[in-house]
């Protein structure tokens, strides 16, 4: 049966360059001299390190614990010695560092004890925790912790589970090769996910330029005997592999920015994620390796099974980097990130190491003014008007850029790809987005500071007022007392017919002062009850010593404080 497919707006058809790297099967990579495993590899919090320099770790040992629920664990990719836990350059365009565990492999590649889980008999919550601790994240590039997405929607069941095998980016073939070689295992992962999500149907979307992968997956489905799972060939058009675009193509549903796809009865996972879920559940292996395409300016483009933390240049050496290599790109040529160095580690998000050279990826011709030709709008898969967003981003008019739905932009690069004026449109959008985020952070900080400042002022005011009120109340009480006495005396004097008393104001004041002094005297005389009475003699002595010191400092207020030795016991 031919399934009805839907269309998404725009898209482009860059040269795919996929054949080169699919000629040979997935190859293993020899152990490198050292592995650099960043602790922060997924969206969400920064996992805390569980190992210290000098520790011995076995393969698959958890070295970073998930920080909160919006995070995922990190594991040692091989057995060896933890050399260091230090900030190291991460595979990110910024070139910034992040806390990483540096492991020197011992060459044994020894697994620890592996814990398997039967997904049918385990409660869903436990399964999710298991996957979190196995470090399972989305391998399509977004590295979102998978356990967070494996919750059925509000109705308790999902209509469609979409499995993303589209792989629309040029050069990348890791998902293609995975489906060709490991379709059966991947399908077991899909079945587990379907069970967790209670999904009615499963659609595996694969671009029609991968007939072998489609055939392999279809054969695996037939062999499994499962019903309601279908491998669907979709037209090859970038970015059909974007989650939103693929959901649209397969189901006709458009998931708006900022909404969960489960609200629409759909959830989407990458084929690689499905395979790693299979590995975790049925083999007990956490996510410590992934398939990486090495392509571009190399002699033999190929896919490798790479341990997380392997330096990129170690892998590229196997494929033979050609002369002229000037950069590595993590990902494809449309959305990939330029790497700050050649020896940055392969991480869970690394689907491809694209070796670049000026000949392969020449610098764009000079940027010309926008002529509003609308080519970018025609190519935009999110139905945006990039030239309007560009106009406002260039002028740093961020509010206006947001009015044109800047945050619906998925940064797929189609607009920059087609622009006849060679404007790096996506760069402007990235710039605007990060500027807006920074401003929001600043504004939030400013608002908090304003609130706290205002509260402090309010608190001080209140304390002052409370003090004043207390004083006034006390004064009033005393005055009343004194006044009562005074008036009684006055009345007595008047009745006795003696000379009239002095102006009662003076009298009252004096009485007030006397009353206060009397009270102070009483207070002094009174033994103040302390909560230290029950303390041991030793503590009592210490308190006495501190009291004494305080009295000393009180009697010598001119003592320069820094001269005092720091209080020892406190």
């Amino acid at each position: 049966m031919l399934r009805k497919l839907f269309n998404f707006h725009g898209g482009v058809k860059p040269a795919t360059h996929k054949e080169e790297s699919t000629l040979s099967p997935i190859a293993p990579v020899p152990l490198p001299d050292r592995l650099v495993i960043p602790l922060h590899q997924s969206v969400g919090g920064h996992p805390r390190p569980l190992v210290q320099p000098g520790d011995r770790v076995f393969k698959g040992q958890r070295i970073g614990a998930a920080d909160g629920s919006l995070s995922s664990a990190v594991h040692a990719s091989t057995s060896g010695l933890v050399r260091d836990v230090v900030p190291a350059v991460m595979p990110h365009t910024s070139g910034l560092t992040t806390l990483s565990v540096i492991i020197e492999p011992d060459g044994d590649d020894r697994w620890g004890e592996l814990e398997r889980v039967n997904f049918r008999s385990t409660p869903p919550d436990e399964l999710r925790d298991f996957l979190r601790d196995a470090g399972i994240v989305g391998l399509g590039g977004a590295v979102f912790p998978s356990h967070l997405k494996l919750k059925p929607g509000k109705e308790g069941a999902l209509q469609t589970l979409v499995i993303n095998g589209a792989e629309c980016e040029p050069f990348i073939t890791c998902d293609d090769m995975l489906m060709r070689e490991r379709a059966g295992d991947m399908l077991k992962g899909i079945i587990a996910m379907r069970h967790m999500l209670q999904a009615r149907e499963v659609l595996i979307g694969i671009e029609d330029n991968k007939p072998q992968a489609i055939a392999a997956v279809q054969a695996a489905i037939a062999a499994s005997g499962e019903t309601g799972i279908e491998a669907v060939a979709i037209p090859t058009r970038y970015p059909a592999g974007g989650a939103k675009q693929l959901i649209r193509v397969l189901t006709g549903i458009e998931v708006p920015h900022g909404r969960r796809s489960t609200d629409f009865g759909v959830q989407c996972f990458n084929v690689g994620t499905a395979y790693s879920i299979f590995e975790a559940l049925e083999r007990g292996r956490p996510l410590i390796s992934r398939i990486v395409t090495v392509a571009g300016n190399v002699d033999a483009p190929r896919n490798y099974e790479v341990l997380i933390g392997t330096p990129m240049d170690h892998v590229v050496r196997l494929a033979g980097a050609r002369a002229g290599t000037d950069r590595y790109i993590m990902g494809g040529p449309m959305m990939g990130a330029r790497m700050p160095a050649f020896d940055v580690p392969v991480v869970k998000a690394t689907n491809c190491i694209l070796v670049g050279s000026p000949a392969l990826f020449p610098p764009p011709p000079p940027e010309m003014p926008c002529i509003r030709c609308g080519e970018c709008a025609k190519a935009c898969p999110a139905d945006l008007a990039p030239f309007e967003m560009y106009w406002h981003s260039r002028a740093k008019n961020f509010g206006k850029a947001q009015e044109y739905h800047l945050f619906d932009c998925i940064e797929c690069g189609c607009c920059s790809f087609v622009c006849p004026s060679h404007i790096p449109l996506v760069d402007y959008f990235r710039f605007s987005k990060s500027e807006i985020w920074a401003r929001e952070r600043e504004k939030e900080a400013a608002d908090t500071a304003r609130d706290r400042f205002e509260f402090k002022n309010f608190r001080q005011e209140r304390e002052k007022q409370e003090k004043a009120e207390k004083l006034a109340a006390k004064a009033a009480a005393t005055r009343e007392k004194v006044g009562a006495d005074g008036s009684a005396a006055g009345a007595a004097a008047a009745s006795s017919g003696t000379a009239p008393a002095k102006p009662s104001g003076d009298d009252a004041k004096r009485a007030l002062i006397e009353a206060a002094m009397e009270k102070a005297r009483q207070q002094k005389a009174q033994v103040q009850p302390k909560n230290t009475d029950a303390a041991t003699p030793a503590v009592q002595a210490e308190i006495a010593a501190i009291e004494a010191r305080r009295q000393v400092s009180a009697t010598h207020p001119t003592d320069a404080p820094p001269d005092r030795p720091p209080s020892s016991g406190a």
């Binding site: 990939g336 030709c373 008007a385 030239f387 619906d408």
Partner: protein, 340 residues
């Protein structure tokens, strides 16, 4: 530093403009064939003036001259000016108009991509207001030989009122006004009878209709090359046809047929080459329809009830003013926010 995407489609402003120029060639060929080589001289004059003016301003503004001259946008403007001005306009008129378009209307607003008005149309309007007589002298097809044309362009004395008439549009309007005037000799004649002269061809002006066909062919080629979209040409033609058809249907003896309006004057040039200028035109799909339809109605109104030979130029400028509003109000819903 270069960031993704690292690959690009081989497209450039230069190739877009070059294709527009190529698409104008059939129309220009028909023009030269029917009306003589004067138009080619005008094109050369306008091109030279445009390049010189653009280069001078770019140099003053400190912009890379070769890069921006190479985008060919100035030449497109120059050709449109030459094609809309009378082919026998004196050389200084064409040159002044072109310089006004390039220096004032384009570069003073910030150069390529920044001008709110179509430079060629703004130049036409400025010149027709400044020199109404010179801008209204149009020879009929085959009326003037090459020598006379050159003499008119470069010579000083112009006593040609006797031999040059108005455009068919102008002529028809004057005649129709005469037909409505009881004092006129033409009183009582119907539009079809008035159009039975040598100035008129099968459906439009004699010769002019073939030029329009040339523009149409070039325009269709641009459509096929995806340089322009169908929205503006279709909306313009449909709206002009509808506006003309309505009055024609109500009073056929008093108004020309809609086909005549489509085939005359600058209708085809406007539909495919002038209104489709992306810089000064609307950019959203619905906006383009509105923009072009508005321009068509304005063109018709100016043609029939105004005093100028054609209405395209003024209609274009008037609609250019509305473009920011049109674009703002016709933004298409984005992904996920559509109402199905």
């Amino acid at each position: 530093m270069i960031n993704s995407p690292f690959v690009r489609k081989p497209a450039s402003v230069q190739s877009v403009m070059l294709q527009v120029l190529l698409a104008l060639v059939p129309g220009i060929a028909a023009y030269a064939w029917f009306f003589g080589p004067g138009i080619l001289v005008q094109i050369a004059l306008a091109t030279a003036a445009a390049l010189a003016g653009e280069a001078a301003v770019l140099a003053i503004r400190g912009k890379p001259v070769a890069l921006f001259l190479g985008d060919l946008s100035a030449i497109v403007t120059a050709w449109l000016i030459a094609l809309t001005f009378p082919p026998i306009a004196p050389w200084w008129l064409t040159v002044t108009g072109t310089l006004l378009a390039i220096v004032i209307v384009k570069q003073l607003y910030g150069g390529l991509g920044q001008n709110p008005f179509n430079p060629a149309m703004a130049a036409f309007c400025l010149m027709i207001v400044a020199y109404p007589a010179l801008m209204s002298q149009w020879p009929a097809a085959g009326q003037l030989d090459a020598g006379t044309q050159l003499e008119l362009i470069f010579g000083g004395a112009r006593q040609i009122d006797a031999i040059t008439g108005a455009t068919p549009l102008d002529a028809l309007r004057t005649a129709l006004r005469g037909a409505a005037d009881p004092a006129s000799t033409l009183h009582g004649l119907r539009a079809a009878q008035l159009m039975d002269g040598p100035a008129f061809g099968l459906i439009g002006g004699h010769g002019g209709e073939w030029v329009a066909l040339g523009y149409l062919l070039g325009g269709l080629w641009l459509l096929q090359r995806r340089i322009i979209t169908w929205h503006i040409p279709l909306a313009f033609c449909a709206a002009l046809f509808a506006a003309a058809g309505l009055l024609w249907a109500l009073k056929p003896e008093g108004f020309a047929s809609p086909l005549f309006h489509l085939a005359s004057g600058g209708a085809m040039l406007g539909a495919f080459f002038i209104l489709t200028d992306p810089v000064s035109g609307a950019t959203t799909a619905r906006g383009k329809l509105l923009f072009a339809a508005g321009a068509a109605v304005l063109t018709y109104v100016i043609r029939v009830f105004g005093a100028y030979p054609d209405g395209i130029a003024f209609a274009t400028l008037l609609m250019n003013i509305c473009v920011p509003l049109i674009d703002m109000k016709t933004q298409a819903p984005v992904f996920g926010h559509k109402k199905d």
